[in-house]
């Protein structure tokens, strides 16, 4: 036990004395959360639009006002003719153009089908889709209000309610995502680097030639990083809650346990990497390529899994981060309890056991 204590103490010295790395480890989560929160956002705010009003009636005026009143749009210019639209887009000033046909008023009054054209700059497809959706919803609502009291037998009303994230804030998406990435980074990459560093510096040779059991060497190296990862979790949660208003609706204890489970899964991956390589460089590259990229791209953090090709959807099942993000969203946003995340937790636990098993098989009690 004394041996174990001194080993952890030694490991803490390594971490605390390497000021630069420590600073990066503690500063990165904050930087990432703030970046995602303030800069990299796909929410729409004051998007500039152009209006080409050929009907010049009160309906087109009212619709335009509704659009502006929503806060999402800002009128950039009122156009006079169709030719101006393309020119305007090319100058990059507007994101969307709304074209009211000259027969708008007339058709509406006579209950005839009519069209309002929305043209969006799809160089940024996400923004274009969002803008079109917002504008369609606003126009649709207006039309329904106008039709009230009149007989409109063919009309189907859709009422949309966004559950759990009514304002569609992207913060709710990226806080679980950033948390996953950071925990993966600190746990898997840092441990694989820390273990291979001992190999590179030759100290592993001395440790192996000592009575220390291999399991003790590994566990001793890993424990400080568990603490570091959990500290990062707390920082991200605090930032998410107090700066961006991210709720934690479920039980905090359950959330903590699930984080611990994911950290252990990531650590076991880090250990697995370190058993397969002898250099810090290689360990870092493998961590980045094999762990970080899938964690960012295939976990549903940035790209929805449902819209991936079938092959990638299947592959995403073996990414621990995918299951962790599902768990996080369930607990934090939906406020569900263990009864709704046990399946995902079980999958994570199974993966962890598998990685640990393979690591133990791969760990060498000698130099070769």
């Amino acid at each position: 036990m004394k041996q174990f204590g001194i080993f952890i103490q030694k490991e803490l010295f390594h971490i605390l004395r390497d000021r630069r790395t420590l600073f990066i480890l503690l500063g990165m989560p904050m930087a990432l959360v703030l970046l995602f929160g303030f800069a990299i956002t796909n929410e729409i705010d004051n998007a500039r639009i152009a209006i080409l009003d050929q009907s010049k009636g009160e309906m087109s005026q009212e619709i335009t006002q509704r659009l502006v009143a929503s806060g999402y749009f800002l009128i950039d210019e009122n156009l006079q003719e169709v030719a101006q639209i393309e020119q305007h887009f090319r100058q990059g000033k507007t994101k969307m153009a709304v074209i009211f046909p000259s027969e708008l008023q007339e058709n509406m009054r006579r209950n005839l089908p009519t069209q309002i054209q929305l043209i969006a700059d799809a160089t940024d497809p996400n923004t274009a889709t969002t803008l079109i959706n917002y504008a369609s919803a606003i126009i649709g609502q207006y039309v329904q209000e106008q039709a009230r009291g009149q007989a409109m037998p063919m009309l189907i009303r859709t009422e949309v309610k966004m559950l759990y994230n009514p304002r569609l804030k992207s913060v709710f998406m990226f806080v679980p995502g950033v948390m996953t990435v950071i925990l993966m980074l600190v746990s898997a990459m840092m441990t694989s680097i820390a273990i291979t560093r001992e190999k590179e510096l030759g100290t592993m040779e001395v440790l192996l030639a000592s009575p220390l059991k291999p399991a003790m060497i590994i566990v001793g190296k890993v424990i400080p990083y568990i603490l570091l990862a959990l500290a990062n979790t707390v920082v991200i949660l605090l930032l998410g809650t107090f700066v961006f208003g991210m709720p934690v609706r479920g039980s905090l204890a359950l959330l903590g346990l699930e984080c611990l489970l994911f950290v252990i899964a990531a650590l076991s991956l880090g250990i697995l990497i370190s058993t397969r390589t002898d250099s810090q460089q290689v360990a870092m590259l493998i961590s980045l390529m094999v762990l970080m990229l899938p964690t960012i791209l295939l976990s549903g953090f940035i790209f929805p899994i449902e819209s991936m090709p079938k092959v990638l959807q299947v592959i995403s099942n073996i990414i621990p981060a995918k299951w962790f993000i599902i768990i996080l969203k369930n607990i934090m946003l939906k406020g569900t309890g263990a009864e709704f995340v046990w399946k995902e937790s079980l999958i994570l636990a199974g993966m962890t056991l598998f990685f640990i098993g393979v690591s133990v098989r791969n760990f060498k009690i000698r130099l070769e």
């Binding site: 004394k2 041996q3 204590g5 001194i6 080993f7 030694k10 010295f13 390594h14 004395r17 390497d18 510096l201 030759g202 100290t203 040779e205 001395v206 440790l207 192996l208 030639a209 000592s210 009575p211 220390l212 009690i365 000698r366 130099l367 070769e368």
Partner: protein, 324 residues
């Protein structure tokens, strides 16, 4: 393959009789083509200071790592204090002191922290075995709080030796402890080894420096994975029976080549500021003088020389080359 009993009941009985290190026909191959050790056998007695001498790549590190249970031999039997290296590796790891060739302490920990760390993982304390390391540690004491990475080369090796000694090992395995260390520290280091030997610790030390051989009880000369000779240093020197001359001129580089072309020359090697010339048959120094003068050498100086252990080693190694 004979196996030795390793349980504690028989321990005391066998330690008196068993050698500290026993190596029988050990072979080790890396990959397909590199034969690092070829049928190596040697024995180190209890309390003996044994030198393993040979150039880089001779197989010294491989042999020491096999004894430290860090590598497995392909063939042969090896035991440390009666413990077989493959089966009883746990016993060996608790009872040997091992110092790898490369400085392998924690550079970001202080002198004291390193020592405390190694004492604790071996289940002991600095206080308990302070007596053993006192002579060495007093020199390190002024730098107690300095980071190990900031020590000089000699100090680093002294600290590494302290760390390898702190659990009172029965056998010390030192892999090139004096490589890259200044001459004064080298001398001090060997004096420490001598004192440790007097305390009954068996020591196997490898070195590429042939002059260190004379400080050992016995030495093994190893080259290309094979042992050329094992004996006491004095006996190895007296085994050198060829006439030996020390020669010097103003152009040393050309001198070696010219001497090697001389008909009676057996070998010519640089030795300090002279060339040591061994001869196949005794001839008058005047004949050599005349030969060198004929080759336009100036400042010629020739005198008889006393064979040293290095001459004996060079001779053994040349023979080794010729067998190849």
């Amino acid at each position: 393959m004979p196996l030795r009993p390793s349980n504690h009941l028989t321990l005391n009985r066998i330690t008196m009789a068993t050698p500290a290190i026993q190596v029988e026909n050990i072979s080790k191959r890396y990959g397909k083509n590199v034969l690092a050790l070829n049928q190596v056998s040697l024995e180190v007695g209890q309390g003996e200071l044994f030198g393993l001498i040979g150039p880089d790549g001779a197989g010294k590190t491989t042999l020491i790592r096999i004894l430290a249970t860090l590598l497995l031999a392909d063939k042969g039997y090896a035991a440390v204090n009666g413990w077989e290296v493959r089966r009883d590796y746990r016993q060996i790891r608790s009872h040997i002191g091992y110092m790898p060739g490369r400085f392998s302490l924690y550079q970001d920990l202080s002198v004291e922290e390193n020592l405390h760390f190694f004492a604790t993982i071996f289940g002991t304390t600095i206080k308990e075995n302070y007596e053993l390391i006192r002579d060495i540690y007093v020199q390190l004491e002024p730098f107690r709080t300095r980071k190990a990475g900031k020590l000089s080369g000699g100090m680093k090796q002294k600290l590494a030796l302290c760390c390898a000694l702190i659990h009172k090992p029965v056998v010390l395995l030192l892999d090139e402890p004096t490589t890259g260390v200044d001459p004064v520290s080298r001398k001090e280091f060997w004096e420490m080894l001598k004192r440790l030997k007097e305390k009954g610790i068996a020591i196997l030390v490898s070195t590429p420096y042939m002059d260190e051989a004379s400080l050992c009880n016995r030495v093994a000369l190893i080259q290309k994975g094979a042992i050329l000779s094992i004996d006491e240093p004095e006996k190895i020197v007296s085994g050198f029976d060829k006439p030996l001359l020390a020669v010097r001129t103003n152009d040393m580089y050309r001198l070696i080549h010219d001497l090697r072309d001389f008909e009676s020359t057996h070998s010519a090697f640089p030795f300090g500021e002279f060339v040591h010339l061994s001869l196949n048959n005794p001839i008058w120094p005047e004949a050599i003088h005349a030969y060198l003068a004929g080759k336009q050498h100036t400042g010629i100086e020739i005198k008889p020389a006393q064979a040293t252990i290095e001459d004996a080693f060079m001779e053994l190694m040349t023979q080794g080359e010729m067998v190849d």
